[in-house]
């Protein structure tokens, strides 16, 4: 009685071995390292490696292993001091085509890494860094799309020689086109239906000799617009984060209109916020040279034009039609004008943009074109108890220049005040224009010393709680308590191994989850051992008591654990960041404890008592 078949022992041994193997990388700690990745134009290759080695050798800096992986290169160092020194040296050697970020690289030995064993991923609360939650302004995304339609329909109707009075975007959404007569409206509908299938048309009653036509974006195209806006924002944020030079950033969609950005190791949140949060775009518009600026200043702004101001306060009259927006920009670099020596920004457009721009500028050579810089800031403020979104848009003309030739794929903006201005402008442009403004709605920054503090305190409390429970179990259940202790230790190893395998993020609440699991994992053993005691008191033989104890406790343990697992799953599906971390470790703990508390303790008990004649059982 009470003997396990060999395969069960084998299974347990295999699980233990695999668990230990995958938990092992966590014991090795981390090396200070530099993570080099390519930004514009750069490429990571063996060549990069040679130039880094050269530079470090020349500067007499000792370095460890250099590993090249897809897209990035990691150089390890003895301590953080050399790491910092090396960063400057490598930065200088590689130039601005590469991003050199400080990082901690896991010191996992190669043979473990080749098995795919990596240490757990530590959350920001444990390693320090910034967490942002950003919300995309979807209303702006949709209204922007509508504005694009206004411009496109205008061009289309003109091309087809259909006469209309006005096209405007209505304040509460949708486009309103006014025609002169029913016939023109009919023609217009055909043209719009053919060319813009995403629009839903409606014909209100004609009045005062006007024949209106309402056009709305269909629900599916609104959904698509929102999806694209989010996607484009994520792409842009990714580019901007790369500009910041952060190792292992996390940029993730959360829900339908939010994005999570996590930047481990970043301390200067102000700079991060400036670069991530501001949405800037450029619009290229022709100046209206036929009309008088003074007239516009007096309130008579001609139809088809708008009044803008230069940074100096100078008024400029620009045509409403946008020749090009920043969406088409693929690169922008700050530099100096070869003739005047003043700071400039060279812009490169993508194919579509280049074609559009060259078409648009072909007829305009010799005329003046203005570059309008538009910066969007969104904030939510509380007003009379209501949450109100307030948008601030700064529009200014940063440059008016004569188009000297038909502009194409590459061109320059000159006339910038300082190198800093040209650098900032280039950075924002390079990172791409955001399709819709985003707003930071949550920010969490954890300093590096607090992160280390959290790790230390977390582990201390795990250790103390763990040891207390170990002692308690042995005092209470003797040999059986010892079996439970082994199971408990194994439970911890398995949780760590699973977290490492899943590459789940360990956070402070995650550690709390582990601590709680330690307390609750013994529950299964307590249930079993109490049952065994009862059976003995009922006058059963020791062997029969052990058998019945495990048997009878099983359904109770299963029921109890499954219901707790429910709670953990609900936590996981509804919770955000920190709660999720807690739910993950709690559920892993429950699953592991079912295995260790039942199978592992049984195997130990069977090894000690199985098949022997027992007159008395000490429990």
């Amino acid at each position: 009685m009470n003997r396990y078949p060999v395969w069960k022992y084998l299974l347990i041994i295999i699980v233990i071995a695999v668990g230990c193997l995958f938990a092992l990388p966590n014991l090795y700690g981390k090396d200070p390292a530099l993570q080099v990745s390519a930004s514009r134009g750069g490429e990571i290759s063996e060549l990069t490696r040679f130039s880094i080695e050269d530079a470090l050798d020349n500067a007499d800096i000792k370095y460890g292993e250099i590993s090249v992986a897809t897209g990035n290169l990691v150089v390890r160092f003895q301590d953080t001091e050399t790491q910092l020194k090396a960063q400057d040296v490598v930065k200088d050697a590689l130039g601005r085509s590469y991003t050199v970020a400080l990082n901690l690289a896991p010191a996992t030995p190669d043979w473990l890494r080749s098995l795919g064993a990596e240490p757990m991923f530590l959350g920001l609360d444990l390693r320090g860094g910034v967490h942002f939650l950003m919300e995309v302004d979807m209303e702006a995304a949709v209204s922007k799309a509508e504005e694009r339609y206004v411009s496109d329909i205008r061009t289309q109707l003109r091309d087809e020689r259909i006469r209309y009075r006005t096209i405007i975007r209505r304040r509460d959404g949708g486009l309103l086109i006014r025609f002169r007569d029913a016939e023109q409206r009919g023609l217009g509908i055909t043209v719009i239906e053919d060319n813009f299938p995403d629009l839903e048309l409606e014909q209100p009653e004609a009045e005062n000799d006007e024949f209106p036509l309402l056009a709305r974006l269909s629900d599916s195209s609104v959904t698509e617009t929102r999806r694209l806006a989010l996607q484009q924002n994520i792409t842009t944020l990714r580019k901007r984060v790369n500009e910041l030079g952060v190792a292992e950033p996390v940029i993730q969609q959360q829900g339908l209109e939010r994005v999570v950005v996590q930047l481990p190791g970043v301390q200067d949140t102000a700079r991060a916020k400036d670069i991530l949060g501001a949405t800037a775009t450029l619009e290229f518009r022709m100046t209206d040279e036929e009309r008088d600026v003074q007239d516009a200043l007096d309130g008579r702004v001609p139809a088809g034009s708008r009044l803008y101001y230069e940074r100096s306060g100078n008024p400029v009259l620009l045509k409403k039609q946008i020749m090009l927006t920043g969406d088409y920009i693929i690169d922008a670099a700050a530099g100096f004008d070869s003739v005047s020596g003043s700071p400039n920004v060279s812009i490169t457009l993508d194919g579509k943009g280049a074609k559009r721009f060259s078409d648009a500028t072909a007829e305009e050579v010799g005329r003046n074109m203005a570059v309008v810089f538009i910066e969007n800031k969104t904030e939510t403020v509380e007003q009379d108890g209501e949450m109100v979104k307030r948008k601030e848009t700064i529009e200014e003309v940063i440059n008016v220049a004569t188009i000297r030739e038909q502009l194409g794929k590459r061109f320059q903006i000159t006339g910038l005040d300082s190198t800093e201005e040209s650098r900032n402008l280039a950075l924002l442009l390079r990172a791409g224009a955001l399709a819709a403004p985003i707003e930071i709605i949550e920010e969490r920054t954890v300093g590096p010393s607090l992160g280390q503090d959290n790790i230390d305190k977390g582990f201390t409390s795990v250790k103390i709680g763990f040891v207390l429970v170990l002692i308690f179990m042995v005092l209470w259940y003797k040999a059986f308590g010892l079996a439970a202790d082994v199971a408990l230790a194994l439970n911890l190893v398995l949780i760590v191994a699973l977290l490492s395998m899943l590459q789940a993020t360990l956070t402070l609440p995650g550690i709390a989850g582990i601590v709680l699991t330690v307390g609750m994992a013994v529950d299964a053993n307590v249930l079993i051992f109490q049952r065994i005691r009862e059976e003995i008191r009922n006058g059963n033989s020791p062997q029969a008591s052990i058998h019945a104890g495990y048997e009878k406790a099983f359904t109770t343990i299963a029921d109890a654990n499954i219901t707790t697992l429910f709670a953990a799953i609900v936590l996981f599906s509804f919770g955000t960041g920190p709660i999720k971390g807690f739910a993950v470790t709690l559920s892993l703990g429950i699953v592991c404890s079912m295995f260790t508390a039942i199978m592992v303790t049984r195997s130990i008990v069977n090894l000690i008592y199985g098949g022997k004649r027992l007159r008395k059982l000490v429990i």
């Binding site: 403020v381 305190k457 709680g465 307390g519 529950d523 009862e534 109770t556 709660i579 807690f582």
Partner: protein
């Protein structure tokens, strides 16, 4: 040897009237406090900005308040955090101000004061996030309760579901009440702790129910009250043991886990104690009062 399977023989159910009064009193106090002084929600729920700063030496709160009072953050809440060298500053939403900038400005103000100060943590939560969280948190609780109700009804019986849910509502109400009465910070981790309390208390209740079910099927004689009493006595050692080990680790977490995790461990400690009590004095009496009987628990196969 009257009842050999039992070490204890307390008449739990005989005292259930006292328990009703006790529970009713605790719940009344909790509700009263929740309605009058509400919960001291952390910025996770209300939105706002929080800055934790560490000084090289002991710092006077009044001094920090003084520095801040000269600025636009005059209504900031300043308190010690863990030691007299660490402070926590909380600022509510400032009307008409880009909230993400507030933290930067506070840091600047603190750094100007001349003392060496290190920013340990900054949290900014926008109002829309806080609202979502309150909603999601409430929803999570309700969904958890519904799922638990269904599972117990399926594994045991409907009346047990009602008993278990009554115990859970009891536990959560009193734990939240505890936070309200003492005006402790109620943040995101406390919400997680409450859900963990649900899990734990449920665990306890299920173990007792499991034994009640077994005894109803096994013991032919005896009133439902006797059977529930016997079941509670049989599971008492286990109930106490598990609560004790869990409380051991939670106490370790409370004492050594650091300031951030303290509200979390406090909520769990209160919850575990209340949960242990409720599995004895709420879940079972409610099920009894609803008129649970032998017939309700006979294996289903026999009925068909």
């Amino acid at each position: 040897m009257a009842e050999p399977t039992q070490r204890f023989n307390f008449d739990f159910m005989g005292k259930r009237r006292i328990a009703v009064v006790f529970s009713a009193a605790l719940i009344s106090i909790s509700l009263l406090s929740l309605f009058t002084q509400k919960l001291n929600f952390g910025i996770d729920f209300t939105g706002g900005t929080l800055v934790e700063a560490g000084y090289g030496e002991t710092v006077e709160l009044d001094q920090v308040r003084h520095v801040l009072s000269a600025t636009q953050f005059s209504d900031a809440v300043v308190q010690y955090f863990g030691s007299a060298q660490d402070i926590l500053i909380r600022v509510a939403q400032v009307e008409g101000k880009n909230s993400a900038d507030i933290s930067n400005e506070i840091i600047d103000v603190l750094k100007q004061s001349g003392q060496s100060v290190e920013i340990r943590r900054v949290e900014f939560v926008g109002p829309q996030v806080g609202e979502d969280l309150q909603e999601d948190g409430g929803l999570a609780m309700i969904y958890a309760l519904i799922m638990i109700f269904i599972y117990i009804a399926f594994r045991f019986q409907r009346l047990f579901s009602v008993g278990a849910i009554a115990a859970l509502v009891h536990d959560v109400t009193i734990t939240i009440g505890f936070f309200s009465v003492l005006q402790l910070d109620f943040d995101l981790t406390v919400l997680a702790a409450l859900l963990a309390v649900i899990g734990y208390s449920l665990n306890d209740t299920i173990v007792v129910f499991d034994r009640i079910r077994e005894n109803f099927r096994r013991i032919r004689k005896g009133s439902p009250v006797d059977i529930v009493n016997a079941s509670l006595n049989q599971t008492l050692s286990r109930t106490l043991m598990t609560s004790l080990t869990t409380l051991l680790v939670l106490t370790a977490l409370f004492l050594f886990g650091g300031e951030i995790i303290r509200p979390f461990s406090a909520a769990l400690i209160v919850g575990v104690i209340i949960g242990t009590y409720s599995s004895i004095y709420v879940a079972s009496p409610v099920t009894l009062a609803l008129g649970i009987s032998k017939q309700d628990l006979m294996p289903v196969e026999k009925e068909e």
